[in-house]
């Protein structure tokens, strides 16, 4: 027990993961995971609300990227950042996501009222 913890810690130090500061890439990876989760969510969920959640995840992943690029803290040496724009865009995205969620929810409720279901596979009226 005593040996395992130090060893683990040593392993961490050896790789330098915990001691090194994080870079923009770390954030981008997190954003990518969130984004991919959202996309897969949209592609797989049959529940309309599930798809809405997938959209939220996608927007969130995008926001992580904006924040990462706009952050002065994460700025590497000699690299530029988009500065305050990143945060401003992120704020707008949040607001638009809220608006989108409201409208989407209203559409979902309408769909539910008309078809008595929220299964998105039933909504194929526009197929060619």
């Amino acid at each position: 027990m005593n040996l395992i913890a130090p060893l683990c810690a040593a392993g961490f130090f050896a790789s330098g993961v915990l001691s090194d500061p994080v870079s923009v890439t770390h954030y981008l990876v997190v954003g990518a995971i969130l984004f991919t989760s959202g996309v897969v969510c949209m592609a797989v969920k049959r529940n309309a609300l599930g798809i809405l959640m997938g959209i939220e995840l996608v927007l969130n992943g995008a926001n992580v990227n904006f924040i990462a690029f706009g952050s002065p803290y994460l700025r590497g040496e000699g690299s530029a950042s988009i500065g305050l724009d990143g945060e401003a865009i992120a704020l707008f995205v949040i607001l638009l996501a809220a608006a989108e969620a409201a409208v989407a929810l209203a559409i979902t409720l309408n769909f539910y009222n008309n078809h008595s279901t929220v299964d998105i596979d039933e909504a194929d009226d526009l197929q060619g």
């Binding site: 994080v22 990518a32 797989v44 924040i67 949040i94 209203a106 279901t117």
Partner: protein, 225 residues
């Protein structure tokens, strides 16, 4: 003695280790792991109520990441609007439609596999591109950012007070505030809310009953004649 020594050494080592740990990075890893895990959980679970729960956790963890990146105002907004507003909205939706058959709708396994493959491909592309730029991988200089709420607020009012020494002069000259987008977004939000309220309002079901009545009348008259 041995134990003490060992304990001491362990403690010492622990002290050293603790002193060497970059707490900022550690916190980032924690929040990032939480956000990613919860996002994956959202994908994996079928129950819509649980999905909503995991989503709240994921978004909250993301807010933490925002704080760590120095975007304190955005993080706060993330918590307030997303976690506090949008998610409540979704939960309302879940509650309104969460009748027994719809709580968990199963997806065909083939779709899941397909989605997984496609998602893996997309993830691979995104991660590759995240590592493709050298300057992005460069570790942060560790500058402590000033709180961004004030410059952001001023920018929304049309005045840029932040100073970006690295920005090119030509970019500097055209940088301006976000007053117009801010206004547009405000009005947009208002319209959207009104529209959403209109779309989601309760409708009376008149027509089916009217049709039924007419049919009954016609049947009655037909039978009489």
């Amino acid at each position: 003695m041995m134990g003490t020594l060992l304990g001491d050494s362990t403690a010492t080592l622990g002290m050293v280790l603790l002193a060497a740990i970059n707490w900022h990075s550690l916190l980032f890893y924690l929040f990032a792991a939480a956000a990613c895990a919860c996002a994956v959980a959202v994908v994996l679970t079928d129950n819509v109520v649980r999905m909503a729960f995991y989503l709240v956790l994921s978004l909250g963890a993301t807010a933490g990441i925002f704080f760590l990146a120095g975007a304190d105002f955005v993080g706060a907004m993330q918590l307030m609007i997303y976690v506090g507003g949008t998610l409540v909205l979704l939960v309302f939706g879940v509650m309104l439609t969460a009748q027994a058959p719809f709580v968990s709708i199963r997806t065909p396994a083939s779709d899941k596999v397909l989605g997984g493959i496609v998602g893996a491909a997309l993830l691979m592309v995104l991660v590759l591109s995240a590592f493709s730029v050298e300057s992005w991988r460069r570790p942060a200089m560790g500058l402590v950012a000033a709180p961004s709420a004030t410059p952001l607020g001023m920018a929304f009012l049309g005045v840029r007070v932040d100073d970006d020494p690295l920005a090119a002069p030509v970019v500097d000259s055209i940088r301006s505030g976000y007053l117009l987008p801010f206004e547009i977004v405000s009005v947009h939000l208002l319209v959207v809310l009104v529209g959403a309220a209109y779309l989601a309002r309760a409708k009376r079901r008149r027509m089916p009953r009217g049709i039924e009545t007419a049919g009954a009348d016609a049947a009655a008259t037909g039978g009489r004649s």
